[in-house]
Symmetry: C2
Subunit: 406 residues, 2 copies
Amino acid sequence: MKIEPRTLKGFRDFLPKEARKRQYVLSILKEVFESYGFEPLETPALEYDEILSGKYGEEGDKLMYRFEDNGGRKVALRYDQTVPLARVIAQYANDLPLPFKRYQIQNVYRAENTQKGRYREFLQVDLDNIGSEDPISDAEIIAIASECLDRLGMNDFKVLINDRNIFYELTENGVNEKDLNSILRTIDKIEKIGREGVLNELSEKTGSNEKATEILTILEQRQMNFNVEGILYYLKSMGVKNAEFTPLLARGLDYYTSTIFEIKVDGYDSSIAGGGRYDNLIGMFSGKEIPAVGFAFGFDRLMEVLDEKNLFSANIKGIDVLITFDESDSEREFPYEAANILRESGFNVEQFTDNRAIDKQLKYADKKQIPFVLIAEYGELKLKNMKTGEQKKVSLNELPNAIKQI
Amino acid sequence: MKIEPRTLKGFRDFLPKEARKRQYVLSILKEVFESYGFEPLETPALEYDEILSGKYGEEGDKLMYRFEDNGGRKVALRYDQTVPLARVIAQYANDLPLPFKRYQIQNVYRAENTQKGRYREFLQVDLDNIGSEDPISDAEIIAIASECLDRLGMNDFKVLINDRNIFYELTENGVNEKDLNSILRTIDKIEKIGREGVLNELSEKTGSNEKATEILTILEQRQMNFNVEGILYYLKSMGVKNAEFTPLLARGLDYYTSTIFEIKVDGYDSSIAGGGRYDNLIGMFSGKEIPAVGFAFGFDRLMEVLDEKNLFSANIKGIDVLITFDESDSEREFPYEAANILRESGFNVEQFTDNRAIDKQLKYADKKQIPFVLIAEYGELKLKNMKTGEQKKVSLNELPNAIKQI
């Protein structure tokens, strides 16, 4: 029976062109993370089911990939990187002095509805500082996210900052604590549905237009508190100038305990990075309260924005030179010497490894958008610029300069 | 109920020290691969079960992680990277001009017996040239593997090369074709059980001592064929000098069709890399014969050998400087300026982000083996060499040179 070659629904192959872009972005992110002293951590794709179950609410339990392995163990695929981090913190307490500053870049698995354009395997880029409670650690996290975007060539983003505690003060204005999260979820939609939309939804939830208007007005007129002030001060010292207090910023997730922030790019509704302080989560396995602050890039979103802003092409190193192959000429060593000379100068050099006519080899270079071809024929080397068509004879010791000049 | 934090049996966490080593090795491997014009490919962790089942023999079907997803689809976790590659070659035939030279570095999942010291999640590092049949492509694969080891600082390895066709000629000496694979598996053990051991096992299998001796003698006296000669010639041109024809090299896997090779390090029984030509596998989904040659590093094995040979410490970039934090001093900007100056000069700089006594911060630096601490106190900067204990006052504009001098 012939089996149709197809990718599992909701999953993706990354062919070289896309895979290279991903590698380029990741290499920059890692370099920035490391320059701030954050260290890499890897955890397994599979965990005992009991480690992950019940940690992500009802939705998480529904979307998690869970099964029994061949040994009858109940296991589950990585759903995020925070619960595994909490496990690691408890399990290796003696090996990891706090603050533990780590980044983690691995795929997570969620059986999402693919009709919403969501993927079931996607890369998470997380960076967290575990153990620090001073606002300088909140500021540092934001500075790192911001520097990553600078380094990727983005210059039209801003950082929105708020403190969840500001919302808790609503309980002093007659809002029930149990209704707070529901109200936050509505306020979180202000960019999508506008002020009127939020007012309508709040009216429904609180049962009165007056109450809704009161809540929204209180929040809009709210001044920043001491925590946000501190973070903004540190951010300025660290060189981040595009951060602003945003009293209506709510963020969807329930687990943040004070600082929250998002990074938005001009012209895009949804944020490309977000994070905050979550002091009650990391201690879940160790039974201690361990302060934590972190952020995550929406990696697919980030890739999309970089693509649309054309921030890739010039920065991605592909294949620089193709050296042709002539079977009848195959006992001469100069093409291999040429390849070595070029590689030692930092060029990526593909040697054609199939006995085909030269014009087919040139077509191959063209299809792969390789900018230079070194034609090795009859004991001679000719360098061809594939863009201009220009071609000239070169000797071994004219390489690699000839490439820079042609 | 308190849940014990533990890693799933057969799986591993990589804490920063190990994770850094892995990243260092992978960055070198990728750099070498790219310098030869090989391109990255990523495929999903999950595939339709029908894509993977039956492709790895009985053992594979037994060790594969298979389950039904929430939508009732039969799925399986990646078991190797060759079958997914074959799927990609068939599925994207129009986008991937042949030869397609790709590398792929992802985890694979096998429910191995953990008592044998095997892991159930491990990284595979594969590099393959799909579509070339000329021996130059076999040579290039070997040259790449060899350059990777050079670049990692290994200098005591050799490349053993053979051609499977040499064994098929045994059928002219009275060996049944159906017994050939079983005989190869015995010959493959010669490094482990010695010449006597192989003779004993061959005697059992062939039913006579004479036959066993004849087979082994024929193989030992075998001269290299045209294919191996060509590969050795090309290797010399490419600068690989430590390759040798090894007529008893057999390799375990059945699917190789001609060239096979292994890289062995002095003092180690098992090889750290191996590969060969397999012309009948990649076409499994496309129904065409597509030539292919490739190799894989045993990544865990490679890491082990590099560790034992002490080839890591000097090459791995960790955190260079810790800058201390003094809450009472927190409104001064110079520590952040110092951090930025050092980062711009390429240093990895951790800023301590918790309000603790200076001696605790120094202890933290010591435990994390950070070589330099910049003590920011009372508006002054003092640079401390953690190894010698030496300490001196520095100004912002003496950085970063002060670090190189102390």
